[in-house]
């Protein structure tokens, strides 16, 4: 069944249809929440709350991009968590897994055929990107994640964030510029193939 059919059935209370939508989007939602929050347990909570809130508010969905609608919910969940952290700051030294044990790295959906060396390079790059994303203001991070990581166009990102397209354009350009400067600062951590092409201009 197509997505619209699943949405219609889910709006009538069909939990199985909704769960098929959950399976289709849970990795994207979880990835976004993890990159927004930088913490696996917080991302897990935000993802769970997002799908629960989506099911309860599904009757209010009036068509359009279901993905944008879902990302709007998870963005609000993440903003709530970030605001809560500002009020009660607790910064873990290392991200915690669901069993409260420190984990080295979350599980990525990658090409398992890569060599171990390539996987290490990719791992280093992901960590650096995550670090640079973490340095961004929240509203810049959400835009660059939606457009560059999730692949949304400006209009869909605008719907997901509830902002005008002009704001998306402006925030995206500034976010890309900041990430680019952050990567330049830590260029020596990047694998050679990812290093900036003209170091003299950095």
């Amino acid at each position: 069944m197509d997505e619209q059919g699943l949405i219609r059935n889910a709006q009538r209370g069909d939990l199985e249809a909704f769960n098929r939508l959950v399976i289709a989007y849970q990795d994207a939602i979880y990835s976004y929440a993890y990159r927004m929050l930088g913490e696996e347990s917080a991302a897990d909570d935000a993802t769970q709350e997002t799908f629960l809130a989506a099911f309860q508010a599904l009757r209010s969905f009036r068509g359009g991009s279901f993905r944008a609608w879902l990302f709007r919910i998870v963005t609000n969940q993440c903003y709530d968590e970030l605001r809560r952290r500002q009020r009660h700051p607790t910064t873990p030294l290392e991200p915690l897994g669901s069993d409260d044990e420190e984990i080295e790295s979350p599980r990525w959906i990658g090409d398992s055929s890569n060599s171990p060396e390539d996987q290490l390079d990719q791992q280093a790059l992901r960590e650096l990107i995550q670090h640079c994303l973490g340095e961004l203001p929240d509203e810049f991070r959400s835009v660059i994640l939606l457009v560059d990581v999730q692949g949304m166009d400006y209009a869909e990102a605008a719907r997901a964030l509830g902002k005008p397209v002009g704001t998306i354009k402006s925030r995206l350009a500034r976010a890309r510029l900041r990430v680019q400067r952050c990567l330049q600062t830590h260029w020596e951590l990047l694998p050679e193939k990812f290093r900036p092409m003209n170091k003299a201009d950095l």
């Binding site: 979880y30 990658g110 166009d153 354009k169 900036p196």
Partner: protein, 281 residues
């Protein structure tokens, strides 16, 4: 080549150009500058590299399935109830208050017709018309039989005495006595005189002409003759009528104010109940 650093606007144009989210005219501008300005071109390449790096990032695999079960949904349902308790109480209280004030409004409306307020209105009309109604007196029934005793002397009076109908204002006796020709209490004399031979006679000469306007004209049997408003200026009846009229007007204003307050409160609480009901849905 310009030595000035690129502005945020330049980066915004380059970023939008990379995503193809730019108008045709802006696209021409960007492409022209890319061929002429090396710094502009470098910025383009750097942003393009960042964009490619981010777009090459894989998704993170979710650590578990987030599919919902009926248990999870049923557990999550009661949580908003404590928060929604207050709006529902407000709605119920507003609805009750609206009905209460509506009942008061209707009751006040009904009581207007039943209570003394309505009577006051009638009395006001009566008091204004009283002189005209009292004026046409019926002919005295014993006019033809002069020898008969007047009914007053036989027993209880059939007709009220003039002093009962129009008691003289305080001090009027003293005033009347001062202006007469030696007959004290000229107003009282006709009442105490024996039954006269002619009925409907003019007032006796003991009443000075200049006091006829103050004293109520009566015949020798104590009956009121002709009364109209011009004969009794500033009489007690008129003063009482004016007082009653003022009282009635004050009562009407108070009644109207109460109606207004009840109506406004009833409508306001009804709107509040409706709005809180919409918020819940």
């Amino acid at each position: 080549m310009s030595t000035e650093p690129l502005s945020e606007r330049d980066y915004e144009l380059i970023s939008s150009y990379l995503d193809g989210e730019i108008s045709g005219r802006q696209k021409q501008t960007v492409e022209l500058r890319l061929t002429q300005d090396a710094r502009y071109k470098l910025a383009y390449e750097q942003l393009s590299q960042v964009r490619s790096l981010l777009r090459s990032q894989p998704l993170l695999r979710s650590p578990r399935s987030y599919t919902l079960s009926p248990n999870v949904i049923s557990v999550s349902q009661p949580s908003p109830k404590p928060l929604s308790l207050l709006p529902s109480m407000v709605r119920a209280a507003s609805a009750f208050a609206s009905v209460f004030f509506l009942v008061l409004f209707v009751w006040n409306l009904v009581s207007w017709e039943r209570s003394g307020l309505f009577a006051l209105e009638g009395r006001e009309v009566f008091s204004q018309a009283a002189p005209a109604e009292v004026a046409p007196m019926q002919p005295y029934p014993y006019e033809a039989t002069q020898s008969e005793q007047p009914p007053m002397s036989k027993g209880g009076p059939l007709f009220p005495t003039p002093s009962e109908l129009y008691p003289p204002p305080e001090g009027i006796g003293e005033m009347g006595g001062g202006g007469g020709s030696g007959a004290p209490g000229g107003f009282e004399a006709p009442l105490l005189a024996p039954y006269p031979g002619t009925l409907l006679a003019a007032p006796t000469a003991t009443v000075p002409p200049d006091q006829t306007a103050l004293a109520t004209p009566v015949d020798e049997h104590g009956r009121v003759e002709q009364i109209n408003s011009s004969n009794i200026p500033f009489s007690e009846g008129q003063a009482r009528a004016e007082t009653e009229e003022a009282t009635a007007q004050a009562s009407r204003r108070a009644w109207a104010l109460r109606q207004l307050v009840y109506g406004v409160l009833a409508v306001s609480f009804a709107l509040l109940a409706l709005r809180s009901g919409k918020r819940r849905t």
